[in-house]
């Protein structure tokens, strides 16, 4: 072989760097990066920075942390937040594990119902369910009234921290259920059969082989539950449990003002814990991708249940589902109730709550549609762009863009809210001159940043489904990059993008922790804040429940529709196409 004209490495790189379309996408990448830095990184860094500032002199100091741990209230809050999060993981596991196990291991008629009902808690913000659960599980709620009447005992389900744990675990257990079920389904049948062949069976087989293989999914779900509960503001606030970290941060900032350092110290702790949990779960899962399903292999073998097992399984599932659906049942009853107080069931039923709700919350609904709509549209546009840049180009730093957008997961809403208040404090909106920190656009931007990771995941998954050869085939037949994206990539991603939109929209619509910090007047308030206001007074509860029910129905319908589109898309790809 002659070596006369070896390819120079520079000559290889030049043409792609000079290509005009790449520089266009490069601009998009730079723009997104700037947006994320400005609206996510800077506010969070600002919050952390302020936590280390002396409020009077402005000098760097650790005094704030000293003050924080010197206060018994804050120490107690810290411990309570940790305890509630850990216990929520435990209770959520107790709920999710049997459901996941039964649906993936047995031929069980209820599997479909469980898998779809399992999602239902997620489509209702936990603080909405909290009120309904007070009425069912509270000291004077349905269950305890009945228990007292029959047996003269009562169980403190909802007293203090117990209430937060119960509400949170019922709300967030689907994270564990979904991740665990997926992991279980991805275990190749032969893994189990090999163990059986070597003499292992029953619980021992599950404990030694099946569960360890499903561990990555479990840990992923558990870490999510932990973080979500640790960060959540709405539920403890509504249950009037204020000795936890997030409510303390909110109360300090809203009552003392944005110059009080304690809010920032708490924010720092919340962020640190989020990042630590994500990092720990990442460390645990590294190198443990056990998904082992081979072609034609199929998941774990399912077996038929014997009659007494079937009765037991149905019993367990019914009990769990009843508990899981209790917030919805309670909410529905409450929304139709005349008065429901110190009684197992409402005194009477009426439509009046819906009328009240309709008359007084039109603005909340309009605001929600605008904020969440803007946020979700922006999310899928940015999400699609990032997914394409990461997976289909070699722009420098493209992975960083992905990490940057995903980092929003680790930032609690309270922290982002405080960061925006601090960052935009004193700024004015161009032209109108109103203060920036109370401008409604800021709420939409916060929602956009908070929900971007969801949309990004959906868009990335959708693009992963589009085989590169489908794009190459279009280019080969004369379609430019831009035309290929328009005619092939986007249409094939529709289902995923739509799912991303619905997820972002639905969760943004019921988001409370960032919004509650940023809403400056009731007329700018979205639905979640409206429900929160209604729920503050006993007389407003009925209308609040009605509004909550409307929210649940809308979100549920949206989820169902997007699921249908995703399923239809899946069918397209079922046969013939490469994976």
């Amino acid at each position: 072989m002659s070596d006369t004209s070896r390819p120079g490495s520079i000559a290889d790189k030049l043409p792609s760097a000079l290509f005009p379309r790449l520089s266009g996408l490069g601009m998009v990448a730079a723009l997104i990066a700037m947006l994320l830095i400005g609206l996510l990184i800077i506010p969070v860094l600002l919050v952390i920075y302020v936590a280390f500032l002396d409020p009077n002199t402005g000098a760097l100091t650790l005094n704030n942390f000293q003050d924080f741990f010197g206060s018994s209230l804050f120490r107690e809050s810290f411990w309570n937040s940790f305890y509630v999060s850990a216990m929520s993981v435990v209770v959520a596991t107790i709920i999710a594990l049997p459901l996941a196990y039964i649906t993936t291991r047995f031929n069980f008629a209820g599997s479909m119902i469980i898998q779809s009902l399992g999602f239902i808690p997620l489509i209702m913000p936990p603080f909405v369910g909290a009120v309904a659960m007070q009425l069912i599980f509270g000291r004077n709620g349905t269950i305890n009234l009945l228990l007292k009447e029959k047996f003269g005992v009562s169980i403190p389900f909802m007293d203090g921290l117990n209430g937060v744990i119960l509400v949170q675990s019922i709300h967030y257990f689907p994270f564990i259920l979904i991740n665990l079920s997926t992991s279980l389904r991805n275990i190749d049948r032969s893994m189990e059969e090999a163990a059986q062949n070597l003499g292992s069976y029953g619980m021992r087989l599950f404990r030694r082989v099946v569960f360890p293989l499903a561990m990555p999914g479990y840990i992923a779900g558990a870490a999510l539950v932990f973080i979500k509960v640790f960060d959540d503001l709405g539920t403890p606030l509504l249950l009037n449990v204020n000795n936890m970290l997030a409510p303390q941060a909110f109360l300090r900032i809203s009552s003392i003002g944005i110059s009080d350092p304690m809010g920032y110290v708490i924010s720092f702790i919340l962020v640190a814990f989020s990042i630590f949990s994500l990092w720990a779960s990442f460390l645990f899962m590294r190198g443990k991708d056990y998904s082992t399903v081979q072609k034609g292999g199929g998941g774990l073998s399912k077996r038929d249940l014997r009659t007494h097992e079937k009765i037991m399984a149905y019993g367990v599932v019914a009990l769990i589902l009843l508990a899981v659906l209790s917030p919805h049942i309670g909410l529905t009853l409450l929304s139709f109730a005349t008065i429901w107080s110190y009684a197992p069931l409402p005194d009477g039923y009426t439509m009046q709550n819906f009328v009240t709700m309709w008359n007084s919350s039109g603005e909340y609904i309009t605001n929600t549609v605008i904020y969440a709509g803007l946020a979700a549209v922006a999310d899928i546009i940015i999400g699609t762009a990032i997914a394409y840049i990461v997976m289909r180009t070699n722009i420098f730093g493209r992975k960083a863009l992905d990490y940057l957008a995903t980092a929003a997961l680790a930032v609690p809403g309270v922290v982002l809210g405080i960061g925006y208040l601090r960052l935009f404090h004193g700024m004015e909106v161009p032209f109108s001159g109103e203060p920036m920190a109370s401008w409604w656009i800021i709420i939409a931007l916060a929602l956009m940043i908070r929900r971007l990771p969801y949309a990004l995941r959906a868009c990335t998954a959708a693009l992963q489904q589009v085989s590169v050869s489908l794009e190459e085939a279009a280019e080969n037949l004369g379609a430019s990059k831009a035309r290929t994206v328009k005619k092939i990539v986007i249409p094939l991603m529709t289902g995923g993008i739509l799912a991303g939109f619905v997820t972002s929209f639905a969760t943004a619509a019921v988001e409370l922790s960032a919004t509650i910090m940023l809403v400056s007047s009731d007329s700018d308030a979205p639905l979640a804040y409206g429900i929160y206001l209604f729920m503050q007074t006993p007389s407003g509860r009925g209308a609040g429940a009605a509004l909550g029910l409307v929210a649940v129905l809308i979100v549920g319908l949206g989820t169902f529709l997007s699921q249908m589109v995703v399923e239809r898309d899946k069918k397209y790809r079922m046969s013939g196409q490469e994976q």
Partner: protein, 355 residues
């Protein structure tokens, strides 16, 4: 649909993925209208070379000329080379008709011309009746034909086939390769066919290039490559080969290959003085006691393959594979028995040691 036939010239093409060089100094000329195969094991660079012609993957250095025009700097959509993908890459959201019409629409062809052209292309592959189906409603073979129709409908200058038969079952594969060939002859389209299957390459191509490690090992017709491999890789990759090391000696006016164990084989004339001799199993005759120039050996194994009997014979310090065609009532050599191997001098190829 017949159009001007063009040739392809590949001149000193190098290509790297990062620091890994996957194509090294490739030079190749493909004649207009030729059915040409790239044959090689996986990782040999054959698909990379095909994709470089279509404009996918990193930009290669060197020149790739189609009809005399260098296309290396053209984006894929300006090249007018049709490619059929290994996965077929039919777009699942478009019907068969829309899939086939895609390229014509991209070429801004008037609407009233697109319909007849699509029909003609579907006719060509015999699937007009499936025009309104979605791709997931088609069998593998049908998808393959639609992918072909989608590519030829735009009348590309060159047709590139990337392992197009590898996703089909064995019977369909044989049928499809015949259809491919007759279609190619009908259209007179310069065609490159990438495969790792030598039978596919042998049965379809006019000429082929055997690749290994990103380097073209040999170019020629299937028969020339089989009979006269230039190196041991080609000899071993195309069919079964017995390879013995040794030297060439002149014995009177007769050339002889003397193996390292001292066994002598008569051969035709060669310039090589030392190297390896390649013996095809079917060109060796086995008998209980041969006369003339033979190598003595001992039968280790015997396999009945139906049309043939394959012996593994320990001889000349090596295990030599010998195929005898089988006929009813023929004698079989016993396992463990002493035999004599006779080599047809004209069929033996001597390959010089690599420098």
């Amino acid at each position: 649909m017949k159009q001007q036939m063009v040739g392809i010239e590949i001149e000193n093409v190098h290509l790297s993925f990062g620091d890994t060089e996957v194509l090294t100094g490739v030079n190749l000329t493909i004649e207009p209208g030729e059915f040409f195969a790239f044959l090689g094991p996986s990782g040999s660079g054959k698909s990379t070379l095909l994709r470089a012609i279509a404009g996918f993957g990193p930009r290669p250095s060197g020149a790739i000329k189609i009809g005399g025009k260098d296309i290396v700097d053209l984006p894929p959509w300006k090249r007018n080379v049709g490619m059929v993908f290994q996965s077929y890459a039919l777009w699942p959201h478009l019907s068969v008709r829309d899939n086939v019409a895609f390229g014509l629409r991209e070429r801004k062809m008037p609407r009233n011309e697109i319909g007849p052209r699509v029909d003609a292309a579907l006719d060509l592959v015999g699937l007009s009746h499936l025009a309104d189906r979605m791709p997931n409603q088609l069998s593998g073979g049908q998808q393959q034909r639609i992918a072909l129709a989608r590519t030829v409908v735009v009348e590309p200058q060159v047709l590139l086939l990337d392992e197009p038969l590898s996703n089909l079952d064995a019977n369909l594969r044989v049928q499809m390769r015949r259809e491919l060939l007759s279609l190619q002859r009908k259209l007179g389209l310069t065609t490159i066919f990438v495969t790792h299957d030598q039978e596919e390459a042998n049965t379809t191509s006019d000429r082929m290039a055997v690749l290994d490690g990103g380097v073209i090992q040999q170019v020629g017709s299937p028969q020339v490559l089989y009979d006269n491999p230039q190196n041991l890789f080609v000899a071993n990759f195309l069919g079964t080969a017995n390879v013995l090391n040794g030297k060439v000696e002149k014995f009177g006016d007769q050339m002889r290959f003397v193996t390292s164990t001292g066994d002598a084989l008569p051969i035709g004339s060669t310039d090589v003085t030392s190297g390896s001799i390649v013996l095809r199993p079917q060109n060796i005759t086995i008998s209980a006691s041969g006369n003339g120039d033979t190598i003595k050996g001992k039968v280790l194994h015997r396999e009945f393959l139906g049309s043939q009997i394959r012996y593994i014979v320990e001889a000349a310090g090596s295990e030599i594979i010998v195929d005898q065609s089988h006929a009813v009532g023929a004698d079989w050599q016993e396992i463990g028995g002493n035999v004599a191997l006779q080599i047809n001098a004209q069929t033996a190829v001597v390959i010089a040691d690599p420098h």
